[in-house]
Symmetry: D2
Subunit: 332 residues, 4 copies
């Protein structure tokens, strides 16, 4: 019998897409969708294109039955208490919020707010399969990475591991779905259309998450990270400008990236700068690395679909690992 899973917070963009991927997944049974608003509405009424004919329920852990796993798609801060409840009941959790991504609660509290369940941090595993595949498989609580950290860490991991990053600037660009479903001036069509601007300057909350993961790879570096909002729906590109510790040739770069990703099913190393359309509606991350011979700087581009590899399909990838299923099941 397939594991029963629920998605908590399924009315938002990432929760809804996770619901769709689990609804059509051959090895999970999607048993409940909850939301804090629009209870009673069917998901295919809100998102016709997801075609999930299940109504949103109010949260009531006693009523959702025995769950093998849950995906929590709550906002930062609201997530931790629900995750704690689920863990008490023995439910394995993939959490899409930032609440369990930062291993040091002091860093979390500096960038976010008081932590509601710091006792769970020790067991939480950072859910980037390309980095922590084995640990994820054994984990009961997986903190799904932020979209920018997913792209940035995959872009920089080969250099970080090689110990060659002296300094790095990450200029990121994201489609509007990354700003979430809540209507606002910021997400109004007329604001975004024919426009681009930076936001979160100079302190975007994904910064410490990127630094944590680069440090775990051996690169102790303060990153400059600036995201921009693009007039498109789904897609994210990070352009990383690395000042290397020492001169690196193109052969060195090719070797580092080739070795790092030769066997990765969802990372594609390509020769030309990738476009976000190359990975739209997929779990792929596409990476290219370049060397500026004039400055010696290394330029790495990585692109993902912010809702897929940056959130929902990566959550399913993690669930697959946790349940011993083929890593790409239901997301290819």
């Amino acid at each position: 019998m397939p594991p029963r899973v629920a998605v908590f917070g399924a009315a938002g963009f990432t929760g809804a897409l996770t619901a769709r991927l689990l609804y059509t997944h051959p090895s999970f049974e999607l048993t409940a969708l909850t939301a804090r608003t629009e209870v009673g509405r069917r998901l295919d009424d809100i998102y016709p294109y997801h075609r999930v004919p299940i109504a949103l329920e109010e949260l009531d852990l006693d009523r959702h039955g025995d769950l093998g796993a849950a995906v929590v798609a709550y906002p930062h801060g609201a997530s931790a208490p629900l995750v704690a409840q689920l863990r008490e009941r023995g439910v394995r959790v993939v959490d899409l919020s930032a609440d369990f991504r930062l291993r040091d609660p002091a860093v979390y509290e500096l960038w976010y707010r008081d932590h509601a369940a710091p006792e769970l941090l020790a067991e939480a595993v950072y859910g980037l399969p390309e980095r922590y595949r084995e640990t994820i498989a054994a984990a009961d609580l997986v903190a799904n990475p932020g979209c920018y950290p997913t792209a940035a860490v995959l872009a920089l991991a080969p250099l970080a591991r090689a110990g060659v990053i002296k300094d790095v600037v990450i200029d990121a660009k994201s489609g509007v779905s990354g700003a979430g479903r809540a209507p606002s001036d910021k997400t109004h069509f007329v604001t975004v259309d024919e426009n681009i601007s930076a936001y979160g300057v100079p302190r975007h909350r994904h910064t410490p998450e990127i630094e944590q993961e680069l440090e775990a790879l051996g690169a102790s570096v303060r990153v400059t990270f600036t995201p921009h909002l693009l007039p498109l729906d789904q897609g994210e590109l990070v352009s990383c400008y690395v000042t290397p510790e020492a001169e690196l040739g193109e052969d060195d770069l090719d070797r580092l990236y080739g070795e790092a990703y030769a066997d990765e099913p969802f990372v594609e190393v390509v020769a030309s700068p990738p476009g976000v359309r190359d990975v739209r509606e997929t779990n792929f991350c596409r990476v290219s690395v370049h060397r500026d011979p004039r400055t010696g700087r290394v330029i790495v581009f990585a692109t993902i679909d912010n809702l897929w590899k940056g959130a929902a399909s990566q959550a399913v990838q993690n669930l697959n690992l946790m349940f011993g299923l083929p890593e790409g099941e239901g997301i290819t």
Copy 2:
């Protein structure tokens, strides 16, 4: 001394654009901008590209000083009471709402709501300069037309006047700015992007306004009118499918449209179907007329910028007429 004008309701798209046009207008002095929210905020903070360095005030007719004229950009229903107050003080008004467009209060109440100032309907002039230029010049209260009626009536007037319209289908397409500034699911970038759908089916409120004006031209016809929301900011196209009373040749059509618009400064008759970009950020309406030899049907396209000729610049065109100024001053 130039007439002093105020814009009431300047935080919305059309009010703000009217403010910009009046701010740079050589023959009006823009003295006050009011809004019901965001009081105290400067307009150039909300709309950097309009570059109007004036703060939004609360409505207080005693404080705005002697006004020669006012533009009211309030929602339907909210507008009539303010217009009544302004008229009591002798202020000449261009009203952007629907409140004074329909001459028959019963029709207004059928499509909208109870009318708050029906006693003013008699003096209100429908502000389509190409139709009512002389009356507008003498009017104290001008009801600025809806965006769809502006395009539809300019498209169909030559045929209506000639008495040849037996039946007409109007398929309209509008950019998102027509939906207003209020953030909602409907105006969220992710909803609109890469999408198109019809709305207001089968009863959009601009229908009786179009029928009223066609009837005034001699065409007593029930129109089928269906608008669609487009993934673009500003611009509106109406595609009108006319079943003629009798066979019309291309020469007849060319003559009718040529005569109607030869001297109109803001109507351009062209040979090929126009695009909304042709008139973006202008007061122009661009029209083309075609005959389908297989069916005898006449097809007329008309395109305007919904915020300009469909609202703000037409309001200024009306103000120019009311104050004896060159009709195109400040809007060309």
Copy 3:
């Protein structure tokens, strides 16, 4: 052993998407892709997002091996000679061009050009599965419908069959991919962006195809058909304005559409006007029917993805039928 299939003309948008669908199809083996330009280039170099790692070859029927079936994605006129060659070799063909859609060669020659293989018209089956499912299953030559006719015929079939269409106006809107891959002023981003305009006025070539299929359903009517180009990539909406022979109630309409499509796996009848995003990258056609109580007119909207149900996935749907496979295999 799965049937071996080739796609001829795989460098264009529809050919390339067909190639992708067949490449991942569980029951076909994609053995060759040809193109008239870019020979030697791999398809995943031209279309990274299709991820088909097969190089384009020159056409050489002797070299492509024994084929069970072929999809021909050539331009109108160029297709017929190749189809004739393939049929001589006994290869079953789905042809994406217009060459075999019109049963009367005189009509074809009136709207297109001289026909290169009129002798094949008798055996060609119009590939709209919802209409000709059984005949398609037995056919050796299937003429895949045009994108507009697919949407228009599915929109109007229930009314046509009921004999209630007196007159119809079809106002269609399509994304730019419908204009094909050839770069031109017309498809330049700057031309299309923030724009919409009609084209093919008043004689678009899909008109006789729509009329032929409505007539086959019992509705002998001259349609007025006008397409518009939208600033979006994939998607197509037809808005159909039907003057009925007699008064039709909403119940009548609901019954007609319910009966027609209750068992159709790829037609969704919905209550609200659909958006093209609802069916993006799917084989679905989504239809809604409305009645304007003021005019008695019936308004039907139908939306498809022009590259999918309007071309490539419908071709695969036809192939599935021809080879006795589940109709939705490889396209759901």
Copy 4:
């Protein structure tokens, strides 16, 4: 009598916009438009929205009459020979190409090609009015800056002049009009829509131009410059990441930018990161400067309309200076 001007190469985006600005300019008389293709076509046929009712002619310097000035909008390399001919006839020239921007012909030949008129380099003035206002006024040959250098130099000039730039990364984003009017895969709507990618990596030709101007300001630095193509029409944003020579406080930055631009009519220093819409269809450059307290890095954003301040309106600004006219005439 107003100076007579011609635009050579008026069929492209920048030439056509220059033509429009000069056609409506109160103090110039636009007497001729030439093009190398589409001779005989009227400009308002190609660009309806520019409304310039002048036909394109073949180049024939003997026939265009006495010119006071000319704007040359030819491609790099093709421009120099025509400029040389014009200068021989005593015509004052603003050249939109790169041919006279780089003062050192060796640098030009390294990044472009052989130079056809190196003897004119000495008299050419780099046409960035905010830098060379007085010299431009006296010049006979003005090299209009590239769009990226315009934005980048205005972004960085206050820091360069203060001698505090140790290193700089410039991540630039541009709308598609920057790629020119020639249809290609790269400018096809389907390629660009819902996409973003870097191009010209790692050696874009605007790099030496930026370095030349930073050096002239006192900053001898090798810049890393990477442009990206955005799914929008007009607009350009540069995000500059500066490693300062020494710690800079926010007060220092505010003072530097305030002093530099307080009196500049077309540079707006703002507090929040600007969007490209803020300057669409204007000659403004909008700049904001930020300090990342964690890294000490200085982040500067600058946005322009690539066709206006990045090309055509800056050309007119230069012409105004050259002819002693108010600097903003015809472009505000």
